[in-house]
Symmetry: C4
Subunit: 270 residues, 4 copies
């Protein structure tokens, strides 16, 4: 029994960790399988390819589905806390990666539903979570997190601007120039303010073009705001990396300058 | 009479402040009403929805109009300085949020005029003004304010560039390629310089495309200017926020943390 | 004679300077005249307006032309170094602002040539040169100047990228999809790389769309480069403003830290 | 024999270096030849120009091909390590710059293949490598290199976002609105996320436009990430460049200017 548990622990290490040779090999194989299966799903949606290689891609899809299903049950089986895994974010993604294929077998004609399988692409992040890149990702996320409130304020401001300018253009241009409703006009305002500019709807009257020009210059200028927020936060964080985190014996403060010899808070020698 | 005034003060606290439980509940209800009424105005402008649910949306509109009218008069009544409120920015927004519905009753056929009701969306900012987000918004606004002059210079430069390049393309491309007048050509130059690029007007001659390429690369590069201005200002503000500039008597250091009571370098009391 | 020279000096002060009341009034009038005459030139190019108000705009144009001609000769007359003025940048702009109108009188049918009058817009910068905004403009220009070399390297890199990707798309898409020649394909690459995206030419083959995606992501990412260059330079310049420019008696160095008490170069007390 | 080797060394200095007068002259001539030959290849691809000036451009092409072929062999001949040159990046570019013209002589009808000659444009970088601009380019590249990992994480995130949003729009909009397959929908998502916005494919259903709005605002906001990464890295590098981190024995300050010989704070020798 102990021997069996040992074996299970080993499988756990291979599947969930990356510090062993077998663990790394498993991760590489997993990423390859995910990319291949995602590519298969994508290509299958191209009509011309589907017509020619449909059967072949269908077999490939079932091969990966069975493979991922086995992996899913092994993950449950070797995990000491299986339920925590099942209801975790990655547990649900793993389930949603295989379920649609089985469901489509029983309920045909729901091809669009099969697109959910593309969530497989998220599984790559699990492997990434363990790699050296995760430190960088965390660094970026923590900077984003610090600037969360500022960016929310900015987004709220952008949406308000889009609403008001959309309404103005709706009145000026009217349905005859493609601004058929307020929501559609707001859609146009967002397309313009973010400098995307599809051109599917565009102002035709001189007044509309003048106001659109203002919206464009505004959008072009205020892109400085999220960029400024994030850059300043990031620069701040990088600078902090130049701090030393010696704990002061006197007051427990840990964010001292790298060159400090005395605690800035209680004056004790560090 | 005092009891009555007490009651009025309580209503004032609920409507204008957020530190009581009732005040917070009122704010949440207000935001919900605003969002719902704005959504109703928007949906009403979609022809297909208007045809089906027009009557229902009309009732909803009147419900919110009456609600906001009552709120408007209560605000005037409980405010110790009613006239200051009436002629304040939010007072006017509150009035413009309800007036169009009444006017449309007497003067029919002015549906476009009803769009003014969308100014209701600005009322959300009043609630926001009292929240924790306002500190962040003020921070951003103060950074924008510091860089106001620099950004004005930049915008003036962009408009001049657009004028000159617009005129050049007007001469090169001419009316046969969509550049029918100088104002329209300037509109094209702004569309291009801000990297929006609708494609409703675009150069067709080789010379026009060559100059348009210059305009694009220019627009792509000079977006660095507002971004740089705002970022540098913001980084500056953030850095200053965490620092105090007390001079240490012991070692002349001046860049101490705002919370420091001892010099980090020589341990002297600040 | 002295009285006459006195009078000329006074006119010189009014026209060329801004520190007197009359000088400021003149500047405001000048800016208004420039803006009005520029607006007249623009409106005149709109066919519908030209048909209705052509005669009126023609008179207005002559009014401003005569006004600016008088101003031009007065500037020459009161300037102690008239030739330096005539061949200066603003002198030439002043001449080009009025010359086309006269030439068009003798050589009719050259309406496109009249567009040169729009250079009048540049005359506004002269007034601006003397205002408080000029400090900010100089600050921005000096930061741009410091990063000139880095930005040149970047632009060269962008043009090379556009050439190579343009050529690749020319081969992949070919004339049947709008990529009729290499210069036109390079134009497409610039439109894409700068995120303008007119959509007048766009890839239709899967391979073309895949490579276009790479170009877009590249363009979206490398916009960081000019922005980074300019921002870092600007932040640098702002920081330097925190320096003190006391001249060291020992070695003439002037860029000391604001908190410095000794020269960093020769050790002399500041 | 020694005299002959001397002569060969001199040619080596002229071709490979820039510190002699002849070397500089050679570089200028080389850049001019490259630009002219590249321009010839480009113009030849324009049908109208090819029809008129085809013969003339064909001669020009052969002139440059022979010239570059001679240069190529001279480079091999004077180089002390010829094989290292042949298989270096620039060696291969030099070969690919002339080979297509010869091959097209024997295998006709492969005109698209001739586009490879445009790689000539890369040869300019060799000359640049030796110029004063290279310091700036290296500075930028080293900053890009430091932020490589962070930018990779960001690009991976962008591609994942494009995949998921592409799939969502494929389901919502479907083939009838131009979203004919998942790869094409991902192409649309990239066009939108990078704010390029061709408009060749754009959402037509209200739900599709709503989600597209989210994608646009997302793309508009997250451009802050690569910009922030690169800017912070660059600012960091610039700051470090001007500083030395010698610790002052007298006062423990470590942020001295790179050119400082005395401590700016206590005057002690560093």
């Amino acid at each position: 029994m102990t021997r069996f548990n040992d074996w299970r622990d080993q499988v756990f290490d291979i599947i969930y960790k990356t510090d062993t040779k077998a663990g790394k090999a498993f991760d590489v194989l997993l990423i390859l399988s995910i990319l291949l299966s995602v590519a298969a799903v994508m290509l299958d949606s191209v009509e011309r390819i589907n017509e020619r290689h449909g059967t072949w891609l269908y077999s490939l899809e079932w091969f990966f589905t069975v493979l991922f299903t086995i992996e899913y049950f092994v993950r449950i089986w070797v995990n000491p806390k299986p339920f925590k895994y099942i209801f975790s974010f990655y547990g649900l993604v793993d389930l949603l990666s295989v379920l649609p294929t089985y469901i489509a077998l029983f309920i045909p004609g729901m091809n669009e539903f099969l697109v959910i399988r593309l969530l497989r692409v998220l599984r790559i992040f699990r492997v990434l979570k363990l790699s050296t890149y995760i430190h960088q990702a965390n660094f970026l996320l923590s900077a984003l997190n610090s600037s969360r409130q500022k960016i929310t304020v900015f987004l709220f401001f952008v949406v308000t601007l889009a609403t008001i300018f959309g309404a103005v253009l709706y009145v000026i241009e009217g349905p005859e120039n493609g601004f058929t409703s307020i929501p559609k006009s707001i859609y146009w305002a967002i397309v313009t303010l973010t400098t995307v500019g599809y051109g599917d709807i565009s102002p035709h009257t001189p007044a509309g073009q003048a106001i659109a020009s203002v919206v464009m210059i505004l959008g072009y200028s205020i892109i400085a705001v999220p960029t400024g927020i994030f850059t300043a936060e990031l620069a701040n964080k990088m600078q902090k990396e130049g701090l030393t985190f010696k704990r002061c014996a006197g007051c427990d403060k840990t964010d001292h300058k790298a060159i400090a010899t005395y605690c800035y808070s209680c004056g004790a020698k560090l």
